[in-house]
């Protein structure tokens, strides 16, 4: 058991340090030691990424540290997810994500895409300034469970409202989550969005609640 605890602690540390090579190696080692994939995720990866998020909030971490932590988690998830072996979908959910049309500020969106991907979602990142029609077309194409749209400019926020209407209008089953610096929960509710997240870690929690399946984070 000591040995397993050490592997889990090392996995946590590899995520925190943003070391994707070590994270992948340790994920294999965890499975080799007979640690359940779910335990490796819940007791190794998740505490690591949560600690990275806490350090970001405290101003100790910056974007590069947070993103490399997410990339290390993704490397480990690629090994652990297929080993979950409990009949769950291989992906936690299918996501289409982008910044709304007219908005080229995509750091926050990229961070959310990275965290969702690290957490086991299949993510189609459409990039920045994505027209509403393309969000809808891609959502149809990939059978999206969730459409995520970021607006970093107050002038582009109204596009989120158009997106919600277009997704509903097309009769898609996908839920819609919105975010971005000027976006508030009140705004999200007023446009009829299904979810709102204030930061990338919260986005994962909200996405999981909205989609309701897959690996726990």
């Amino acid at each position: 058991m000591i040995e397993s605890d050490e592997v889990l602690a090392a996995l946590r540390q590899a995520v925190l340090a943003g070391d994707d090579g070590a994270a992948g190696r340790l994920a294999r080692q965890a499975l080799g030691n007979g640690i359940a994939a779910l335990d490796a995720i819940e007791k190794g990866l998740v505490p690591g990424i949560r600690e990275a998020g806490r350090l970001w909030e405290e101003g100790e971490f910056f974007l590069p540290e947070l993103v490399t932590a997410a990339q290390a988690m993704k490397a480990a998830m690629a090994i652990l997810q297929p080993a979950l072996g409990d009949g769950r979908s291989p992906a936690a959910g299918r996501v289409v994500i982008g910044t709304v049309e007219g908005d080229i500020h995509d750091i926050g969106k990229t961070l959310v895409a990275t965290m969702l991907s690290a957490s086991g979602f299949a993510v189609a990142d459409e990039g920045s300034s994505v027209p509403v029609a393309r969000f809808v077309a891609r959502a149809q194409e990939v059978g999206a469970d969730l459409v995520c749209a970021s607006a970093l400019l107050t002038t582009t926020m109204p596009k989120q409202r158009e997106l919600v209407a277009a997704v509903r209008g097309a009769g898609l089953p996908a839920r819609v989550m919105v975010g971005g610096a000027p976006v508030t929960k009140g705004w999200a509710q007023s446009i009829g969005a299904d979810g709102f997240a204030d930061n990338a870690l919260e986005a994962v929690t909200v996405a999981r609640a909205l989609v309701g399946r897959g690996a726990p984070v």
Binding site: G59, F62, P64, E101, I107, T110, T154, T155, M157, P158
Partner: protein, 296 residues
Amino acid sequence: MRPSELAALLRHHVVVLDGGLGSMLIAAGLPGGRAPEWWNLEHPDRVAAVHHVYVEAGSEIVHANTFGANPVRLAAAGLSGRCREINLAAVALARDACAGRAWVAGDVGPTGDMLPPLGTATESELRAAFQEQAEALAEAGADLISIETMSDLREALAAVAAARTTGLGVHASMTFAVRPRGVFTVMGNPLVPSLAALATAGADAVGCNCTVTSTEMLAMVREAAPQLAVPLWAQPNAGQPTLTPEGVRYDADPEAFARDIAAMVAAGARAVGGCCGTTPAFLASVRAALEGATPR
């Protein structure tokens, strides 16, 4: 303006810059999703009108509509292969609009491509993009090159290196935020060491723009000015955006903004203006505050 001329100007005189351009173009009808650079070709009259009102408000350096006119960002805007054409058009219309009453700065913003670990761009790719834009701006007759809103010091340095080859005076600003442990860019580049690195790389003036309110930027100016050997620029936003039933508003009042700007000048800033959400009314207040008159 050669580097020595820009340095001398800022040493002897506090320069009033311009304010937000993109927000003014949106107010003039720029549709969502359309890159502002398109309007240098489609509606040069409307772009010129914005420059003109800033000059009327007292701006002495006006930024041409070239913030996104590097080849990487132009390609993303559907203007692939048109870097030279766009920069030439933007500077020409700005020079006409200013009619010798203000200098025209060639505006250089980030490419939008990220260096590792966030993206896969290389510093040499960014440098090449900035080189193409800087050469077009110089050919167009820009008086100086003004690099703005950089959040990655490596990208800012690539832009400075390219701008320096034109022989024009160069200003370089980054966008900082107040974090729990000090003032940093989102990438973690700290305020004073980053600005000092830009100066060492050959920027004739360095500074902060965008993201923060005038009150937050005042604190940054007070921290940085005593520690830097080159003139400091400051262009804060018009407060923070808020959502109202009528739409989105920036919450700053032009007179309070101008009081902060005057305090920045007292703290050592040598070129002052506004960024997102600021309008000619803000610049007129700044001008009045600096002249010791009652702001209108």
